[in-house]
């Protein structure tokens, strides 16, 4: 099946000039794990995940432990996040984004997400403009729902 059939056509996104504080607020209110970053015409230019934001606050620990799961002290993180809150998304976003086209197959997208360890990824048009996103949860929901073929 084409990924266009099961993707979420939500255009929630930020720009490079969005502050980390606002990005965190949007992640929380929309219950997302990451946000596409677009330019003023809606072309995808990057992606910022909750991990990128934690990494921005505690880069040493994340690099050393290859993840954000072992944060030693919430006070330290909280203080660092407040300091970083007014900095811009553009400084910390991932610029080499793994994105899909709506014509990509579900199998191709599922394998890519698993191999790259991604929870979600943007879906774009041929001109690079944002169409929505696909998540591991969408794929799992779809796989569970589908009747086995005889």
């Amino acid at each position: 099946m084409r990924i266009g059939e099961l993707m979420d056509r939500d255009l929630t996104s930020v720009t490079e000039n969005t502050t980390l504080r606002e990005a965190i607020e949007i992640l929380s209110q929309h219950n997302l794990t990451g946000l596409p970053v677009v330019d003023e015409t809606g072309i995808l230019v990057g992606f910022i995940s909750e991990k990128d934001i934690i990494k921005a606050s505690l880069p040493g620990y994340c690099d050393y432990l290859s993840g954000a799961a072992f944060i030693p002290d919430f006070n330290q993180l909280s203080e660092k996040l407040r300091q970083k809150g007014n900095e811009f998304v553009g400084k910390y976003m991932t610029r080499k984004v793994i994105a899909f086209s709506e014509d990509d197959s579900d199998l191709h997208v599922a394998l890519s997400l698993i191999q790259k360890g991604l929870k979600m990824a943007p879906v774009v048009r041929k001109d690079g403009s944002l169409l929505g996103f696909v998540s591991r949860a969408h794929l799992i929901e779809y796989i569970m729902r589908e009747e086995p073929q005889e």
């Binding site: 056509r9 015409t41 809606g42 929505g132």
Partner: protein, 310 residues
């Protein structure tokens, strides 16, 4: 892309009861829960007729999550700003015996200034890819009364045609900005003009002035089952048959949807009016919002009584 803006969405709950009266206790034989608000309704109805659109506005709380999920299941494009609080619920009680509808509406969540600014930034970005803008419905607390005027002026900078269906001061601000098509609440126009709009002559006198403000098409209701259309090719009175009507809930949104599809398909003026009226009529023939099928709409088109007024 067609973009619809619903600043104050709602979860619409329709209950069908017999012999409804205030003070009683009723068990509904049928309850329908759907995402609502004028722009969202138009987006969903456009989807039923095969037209893609993107829905924008504000969502909050559990109701907001419900609307967001329901639109995702319909595969509609969305770009809502989420805020704290709770998206409102609108309750409609349809008395199938007395053919009376009763509605109850909440005000909606408070929209903080920073959320409004975020919406405007998203909106400006969306305009880059918009070919038609649809604005409609009430405003939640916190949103400036002139918002529709602001959004129409922004769209005009990109030469994007606009459609507005509103009432009160927000409609007034929209009309001052000159939308392409306006659905006029005739009670509001009556208050604004100080003229009772019960006669066709009075309606024509007041609404014709809107053409001077750059409004190409204006539509206003006339005696419940009729609408007067002010078009570049003349003024028309269109009437549908009241006997087959079950619920008038969301029929104005169906009419707007019909006007949009008629415009997209470059229908001649009279066909476009017939199609829009047939959309509203078909929607009114059942409790469920939206259309049974395109064929059902087209079957009603010849039955719309259309008269060109001198």
């Amino acid at each position: 892309m067609i973009v619809t803006v619903t600043l104050n969405p709602a979860v619409d709950e329709e209950f069908v009861v017999s012999e409804f009266r205030p003070g009683g206790w009723f068990r509904s034989r049928n309850a329908i829960r759907t995402p609502g608000g004028k722009g969202i309704n138009v987006s969903m109805m456009l989807g039923q007729l095969g037209y893609e659109s993107a829905a924008m506005g504000f969502l909050a709380g559990f109701n907001g999550a419900y609307i967001r999920d329901a639109l995702r299941r319909e595969r509609l494009t969305t770009n809502f700003v989420h805020v704290k609080g709770e998206t409102r619920t609108n309750v409609y009680i349809i008395d199938e015996t007395g053919h009376v509808e009763t509605g109850l509406s909440e005000p909606g969540p408070y929209i903080p200034e920073e959320a409004y600014d975020r919406f405007l930034r998203n909106f400006e970005r969306m305009l880059q890819r918009t070919r038609l803008l649809v604005l409609g419905g009430s405003l939640p607390p916190g949103i400036p009364q002139d918002v529709y005027g602001v959004l129409i002026r922004m769209a005009k900078e990109f030469n994007i045609p606009t459609i507005v269906d509103a009432a009160g001061p927000s409609l007034q601000s929209a009309l001052e900005a000159g939308p392409t098509i306006a659905k006029i609440d005739h009670r509001f126009m009556s208050r604004m003009s100080g003229i009772s709009l019960t006669s066709l002559d009075n309606i024509i006198e007041v609404v014709s002035k809107l053409h001077d403000q750059g409004v190409e098409w204006a539509v206003t209701s006339y005696h419940v089952y009729g609408d007067v259309f002010f078009t570049p090719q003349g003024i028309y009175l269109a009437v549908s048959d009241r006997r087959s009507i079950l619920s008038l809930f969301a029929t104005a949104d169906a009419l707007i949807t019909g006007l949009i599809v008629g415009g997209e398909e470059r229908m001649a003026v009279e066909d476009r009016i017939r199609f829009a009226m047939a959309c509203a009529w078909e929607d009114a023939m059942h409790v469920e919002k939206g259309f049974t099928s395109r064929e059902a709409i087209e079957a009603l088109m010849p039955r719309v009584q259309l008269e060109r007024l001198e």
